[in-house]
């Protein structure tokens, strides 16, 4: 009788909804890795919309020669904010969010090793993002017209010195990156500790899902790659506020030193952003090919090789600065070397798909798009690794096209794949396949239409970061195509937004395991309870759910 009054055994969804303020408060004070993961990803997607809007304005400005949409000064601010936002406030939060949400579920843990440190990391990152955008208001101390940083996302010295960058916009840029950097490092410490100390019974390192392996490597890379940026930012702050001389060329300081410090961070950062994309693909491709991942050990080895080599390739961003032939040769060789482990990975994914019973669901479509486009990005990357080629095309639209093929064609596509794949787990609702297909095809066409022609514009000599150009140089068509592509991409993103809203309202229930997958996160309910697992799982192979579904032929017999 008494049970009727105390609905203790009821599932969460049937419990009366708490007032909005209480629910919001719960989100603010939470230390739950799943909630923080979702907040990380939502933060990233929000900034993605902002930075995408900035890109659209730039493309509209460049659609026609002598187009006059924004002033040159505004254009400089736009590309600075776009680059900074996309790398630090879109890429980083989303990959850390995925890691946050999935790693404890995948290794059979109840939370990360340091839940409060986790919350600290998230709020620091968000604060850093707000700080960057506050520069629009406070860049000139609120009394002026207001301005944002305009020094480019790598902020080359001595442009950032007091004498050349007056006001406070650059200070906001420095502080924002400093703060988000500390947040990322805090979360990385958390991830490494979690993976080493919180694995469930039987989850040896060799049985961890590849996603966890790759994110472990990423977290390790952040630990070593983020500090150079932090140190360089501290030096810049000292220069700007205490009159130190680090990058003051008139006092003997070196502007090239900034470039070295920035790219010692900057190049590993590319792999920090890319490896989580690889990680998602390594979970999704096997499940939708109905085959175990081909070459698990090779995959882990290649990841470690990429992490190691990526720490020694930074100066390929600086071929045009005039380094010694020896240095040019070394960095060209190391850059080309990194293509080997990356190639191993691509072959592993292809071999996983080969002979598999492929299901072309939306997550898989995005992964296939990623494979093709990332290959293009890799090939132009190898071209740019050769110094003579780089001297010709450095700082041209060819480079812009190259790194957008990496970061959109590679990373963004895998992020969307991951969202389509794990959205049912996080919300308990399925996204629509039809809308997903619209999203995918519009994005593929729009993306390639935007960045494909930029290769040609670059080869024809169009420099990056120009706010306009004269007619008659053969760039008009390529720029127009590029700008039309942006409209298609924006439409694709709208389909995605609509898909998410629709799924949250009326999506069909997902069930625990909608994709017939094999890793531990699919054993718990969707969405998982706060404690993740009623009893902590125990695993005997790399595919614990396969073992459970096929007791007559479990994996551990073959491993």
């Amino acid at each position: 009788m008494a049970f009727a009054e105390y609905p203790l055994g009821q599932p969460q969804a049937d419990a009366p909804r708490l007032p909005l303020l209480v629910r919001l408060h719960d989100w603010v004070v939470t230390v739950d890795h799943k909630r923080l993961g979702i907040m990380y990803i939502c933060t990233g997607l929000l900034f993605f919309a902002v930075a995408g809007l900035q890109a659209s304005i730039m493309r509209w400005q460049l659609a026609f020669p002598h187009h006059d949409v924004v002033s040159p000064a505004v254009f400089n601010r736009l590309f600075t904010m776009h680059g900074t936002t996309m790398v630090f406030l879109v890429g980083m939060p989303i990959i850390l969010g995925l890691a946050n949400y999935l790693i404890p579920l995948m290794i059979g843990a109840r939370d990360l090793a340091f839940p409060r440190l986790n919350a600290f990391g998230f709020w620091l990152s968000l604060f850093g993002g707000v700080l960057l955008y506050f520069s629009y208001l406070g860049g000139e101390g609120l009394t002026g017209a207001g301005t944002a940083p305009d020094v480019g996302w790598f902020a080359y010295a001595p442009l950032t010195e007091r004498a050349f960058s007056r006001g406070h916009s650059t200070d906001y840029w420095i502080l924002s990156l400093l703060v988000t950097g500390i947040g990322s490092v805090a979360t990385s410490i958390n991830i490494v500790t979690t993976v080493f100390c919180m694995r469930c019974k039987g989850m040896t390192l060799a049985r961890m899902p590849l996603f966890v392996w790759l994110l472990l490597v990423v977290a390790g890379m952040i630990l070593f790659a983020m500090p150079p940026l932090t140190a360089a930012q501290l030096m810049l702050l000292l220069d700007r506020y205490l009159g130190a001389r680090f990058f003051d060329t008139q006092a003997g300081g070196s502007a090239v030193l900034w470039q070295h410090f920035f790219w010692i961070f900057g190049h590993p950062e590319v792999y920090i952003l890319m490896l989580p994309g690889f990680a998602a693909a390594s979970e999704i491709i096997p499940v939708f090919s109905r085959k175990p991942m081909f070459g698990y050990a090779a995959m882990v080895g290649a990841t470690l090789a990429i992490a190691f080599i990526s720490m020694g390739v930074w100066a390929h961003h600086m071929f045009t600065v005039g380094m010694s032939t020896m240095a040019n040769t070394f960095f060209a060789a190391s850059t080309m070397l990194i293509a080997v482990p990356t190639g191993i990975k691509i072959f592993n994914w292809l071999a996983t798909m080969y002979g598999g019973k492929i299901r072309f669901a939306t997550p898989m479509l995005f992964c296939i798009g990623f494979l093709f486009q990332f290959l293009c990005a890799g090939l132009t990357g190898i071209m740019l690794a050769a110094p003579p080629f780089d001297w010709q095309l450095s700082d041209s639209y060819f480079v812009v096209a190259h790194f957008h093929y990496v970061l959109i064609g590679g990373l963004l596509f895998t992020i969307f794949a991951a969202i389509y794949y794990w959205f049912p787990k996080a919300t308990g609702r399925m996204l629509s396949e039809t809308l997903g297909r619209w999203h995918f095809w519009l994005l593929v066409i729009g993306f390639n239409l935007t960045f494909g022609p930029q290769h040609i514009a670059g080869v024809l000599g169009m420099p990056r970061r120009i706010y306009t150009y004269a007619p008659g140089r053969g760039w008009e068509l390529w720029n127009l195509l590029s700008s039309i592509g942006v409209a298609l991409q924006a439409l694709a993103v709208l389909f995605f937004v609509w898909n998410v809203i629709r799924a949250l309202r009326q999506g069909p229930p997902a069930g625990d395991d909608p994709w017939d997958a094999w890793t531990l996160e699919w054993t718990t309910t969707s969405p998982p309870p706060e404690y993740n697992f009623e009893t902590l799982p125990e695993v005997q192979s790399r595919r614990p759910l396969w073992d459970l579904k096929h007791p007559h032929d479990p994996d551990w017999r073959h491993e």
């Binding site: 059979g108 090793a113 340091f114 490092v185 990385s188 410490i189 958390n190 490494v192 500790t193 080493f196 100390c197 919180m198 694995r199 019974k201 039987g202 040896t204 630990l223 070593f224 790659a225 983020m226 500090p227 150079p228 932090t230 140190a231 360089a232 501290l234 030096m235 000292l238 205490l242 009159g243 130190a244 001389r245 680090f246 006092a251 003997g252 300081g253 070196s254 030193l257 410090f261 010692i264 625990d512 395991d513 531990l520 054993t523 718990t524 309910t525 697992f533 009623e534 009893t535 902590l536 799982p537 125990e538 695993v539 005997q540 614990p544 759910l545 459970l548 007791p551 479990p554 551990w556």
Partner: protein
């Protein structure tokens, strides 16, 4: 929710002893801090002899032998404190711990005296020349770490005097003392770079 603990007649999975979270977390922090310091060290080495005007290191720097001995000795005392706690001697722990704080404080005081001397007598500030820039930033950055360490050590001392630090906490105390050892090792590098190579 599926229960994955359901077992078959398969052999027990190999039982791994997982390391302590505090230690792994602290090692990660130390790794990332080491990377941070290495950039400041590289900047220092890169700018040796590149100052366009004086004062130069050879004219103004004195090798701080005594403070160095103090700081290195504090690594030994914190080890003794840690061992005392592991064996359950609370008072002995507090004693060695206090001595560690005193030694660290002595080091910090020596740095303050040195800086005052450089600024007042030799008019060397962070904006004077590249030597001043790199010297104050590298040594100052280390001093910040010593200060943070001292604050944490003092916190533990207060807790220990109040009777909260027992044998059960020895794992946590060990993590903190790892940090202190790291600060000492960094000083060895800074000492070599600034006072031996750079002079």
């Amino acid at each position: 929710m599926i229960n994955v603990t359901a077992r078959t007649s398969h052999a027990e999975p190999t039982e791994e002893a997982l390391p302590s979270r505090g230690r792994v977390g602290m090692f990660c922090l130390i790794a990332t801090e080491a990377a941070l310091f290495s950039i400041f060290v590289v900047a220092y080495l890169f700018y040796i002899g590149k100052s366009l005007s004086g004062p130069y290191p050879a004219q103004v720097l004195e090798v701080p032998i005594l403070p160095t001995i103090c700081l290195l000795a504090s690594s030994a005392t914190i080890m003794l404190a840690e061992r005392a706690l592991r064996q359950g001697y609370g008072v002995r722990f507090s004693g060695w711990w206090l001595l560690t704080i005193v030694l660290g404080g002595a080091f910090l005081r020596a740095t303050a005296v040195e800086w005052r001397h450089l600024m007042v007598t030799h008019h060397l500030t962070i904006s004077t020349n590249l030597f001043g820039t790199t010297f104050y930033s590298l040594v100052g950055f280390h001093a910040v770490h010593v200060t943070v360490g001292l604050i944490l050590l003092t916190l533990v001392l207060i807790l220990s005097v109040c009777g909260y630090v027992t044998q059960a906490q020895s794992e946590r105390v060990a993590a903190l003392s790892l940090y202190w050892h790291f600060v000492d090792v960094v000083w060895i590098v800074v000492f070599l770079v600034v006072y031996i190579i750079g002079r």
